[in-house]
Symmetry: C2
Subunit: 376 residues, 2 copies
């Protein structure tokens, strides 16, 4: 069994479960740090494992194809071996880059032509070759190739885009099921529900995907320009249809409060660059609120970065020191804040899980939300 | 007693000793990682302590004055508290910036006017206020304010420069001895021998400084443009005169082989940005030679970065992976190579010390030099 559901909250759709992979179990709900180019920016794998306590990390197919390339990854025995991470990995499919690199790509029914953002090299992504690439990368969970539809798309575009994503999905499944795991462990293909902010499109896609009976499902095309309330609404629309006994992955989301709200709506898996990207910009998330470490108010605050934090950086470094590093544009500042944020995100979902199991998720969430969201 | 000499090599001037400070002992010969702006670039203090096994680190007075500034450092209770490092610290005096920031400074007998390299802010460094600043920073060992004379200076300039440095030294000593330790532990002032590549100037300076009977001495103005052989020659000239019972610090040097050669000539302390700077540029030092991690030859070398290395990075990461990170300009690559190089430098001096104590320093050095210097 790939997914076992341990607890379902009585007052909400929140669930606690376990995803079983050949690289170990993943306790859900889970946040997955983003390791774009085979590295979670600035973070040692040792710390990802022991300090941040990541259970699964991401890799980005588009970026890994450009560097180091599949030949090297294959020769290494897959991404796990290449980067030295023996826990589960999930790869996206390049579908997000169809959205984010609009000016560098041209979409056809057959697939997407990209000009590499690094050297202009021509790349052609099809459902079939993306599956082949993800086989070579060798993640435990691989995403189907889709178009991440912009959150601002009109109904007509969203419908055509969703339908094409679904046709691509059929091709992905055919290719994936026709090919073998390359490295002796099992890979699992997750389809992605698109449909933008349109209820009927999301429902149509969710139903179609549900009937395919895959190991897990992703909700894509959210947090890409639509209003936040629409995002929550679409999560509900989709999760009402997706099978309860399969894990649900909300792609690219989000803030700590986005995550708690989505857990309440039945989401099990999350990824986002926010903890590392915002960390590099001097912003951290804590149980007491959001801190901009650039602010002058921290200049002579010699208390620990986050006294309630679980990472060593929270206790080894003071706010005044971290502010200094950020102002001096020192690497160590980026490392500290990325490490803090990732450790916090993992603690967030771990604590959410505890409360789902304890049966008080909804009241716990209500009690922590105001502090989480405040600016310190 | 500030310095105790444990062993002196029978076949060379190499010595093993212990420097006693209120922040703990330092076993010499020692290499001191450079923590310019209160951070050894990219390296967590935890790793500096446990993985790299640094016993003492540097801070740069000029850079610390600009950021975070002495007001914050004083409020924190000194640099140790500010950066969270409880082992010894040494600060330079800004004398190196007199050399390296030529276009941004104007020198007079009274002191040196700088325009900050960051925002053009005017700074005036005098022997007196540099002592005051170093008191506020609070390093265990503080350097006198000098001019680091360029290695290419003519005799006349070098003579005037050395004489001015010596007059500044008298002012430094007066100010230092007239002021108190600010934070409850003892600070020690080291004079700096200048004199460029001119034997008689070096001898004159060394004799004058020897007679001042301070706790330790530095040799400055080397590795700043002069031929390498001249550097070794000047070290010998100076160390023949400096007292044997005081530690000798060769400022800003150098490669692993520079360090072993200087140890042979009686030097006890070293600092250099090379391990971190070269690391950031993709170059590492190992017992087997120098490796440029950008090279294509490492592209599919899945063996550990340095199988004989003492750092966790040497075993957690492969050469192929590190090469990938350097090519992708990923922070983690810089972190890994800086960490490796610093751990290697500390292992280098630790091993040198063991061989001095064992009594076979000279033959050991001869046996490792060819490999150390080769390009892999």
């Amino acid at each position: 069994m790939f997914f076992s559901l341990s607890h379902t909250d009585a007052d909400s759709w929140a669930r606690a479960g376990v995803i079983h992979t050949d690289h170990g179990d993943i306790l859900t709900p889970i946040f997955m740090p983003v390791g774009t180019v085979a590295t979670v920016k600035g973070i040692h794998f040792r710390d990802l494992r022991n300090d941040i306590k990541a259970q699964i990390i991401l890799g980005n197919t588009y970026h890994l194809l450009l560097r180091p390339g599949t030949a090297i990854l294959h020769k290494a025995g897959g991404l796990h071996k290449f980067e030295g991470w023996d826990r589960p990995i999930l790869t996206d499919s390049g579908g997000y880059q169809v959205f984010s690199l609009t000016s560098l790509r041209k979409m056809t029914e057959e697939g997407v032509h990209f000009s590499s953002h690094i050297d202009g090299r021509k790349l052609f992504f099809t459902p079939e070759n993306v599956m082949d690439i993800e086989r070579e990368i060798g993640a435990d969970i691989v995403m189907a190739f889709d178009e991440c539809t912009p959150g601002t798309a009109d109904y007509q575009y969203a419908k055509l885009s969703m339908e094409r994503t679904n046709r691509w999905l059929d091709r992905c499944i055919r290719q994936f099921d026709d090919t073998e795991d390359l490295y002796g462990y099992r890979q699992h293909l997750f389809p992605i529900v698109q449909g933008c902010v349109y209820t009927d499109l999301r429902q149509e896609a969710a139903k179609r995907l549900r009937d395919l009976d895959r190991d897990g499902y992703a909700i894509g095309g959210l947090a890409v320009g639509e209003p936040e309330e629409k995002m929550y609404e679409m999560i509900e629309v989709v999760n009402e249809i997706l099978p309860k006994d399969k894990p649900r992955y909300l792609m690219g989301v989000g803030t700590p409060w986005n995550i708690l709200n989505a857990i309440e709506r039945g989401v099990d898996m999350f990824d986002c660059v926010m903890p590392t990207r915002n960390g590099r910009n001097g912003m951290i998330f804590t149980w007491n609120g959001v801190m901009n470490m650039r602010n002058k108010k921290w200049e002579d605050d010699f208390s620990p970065l986050d006294p309630s934090g679980t990472s060593f950086v929270d206790h080894d470094y003071t706010r005044a020191y971290v502010r200094h590093l950020i102002h001096a544009e020192e690497m160590l500042g980026l490392e500290i804040l990325s490490e803090h944020n990732l450790a916090f995100y993992l603690e967030l979902v771990r604590t959410a899980r505890e409360h789902i199991i304890a049966g008080d998720y909804t009241s716990w969430k209500a009690s922590v939300m105001p502090q989480l969201m405040q600016r310190l």
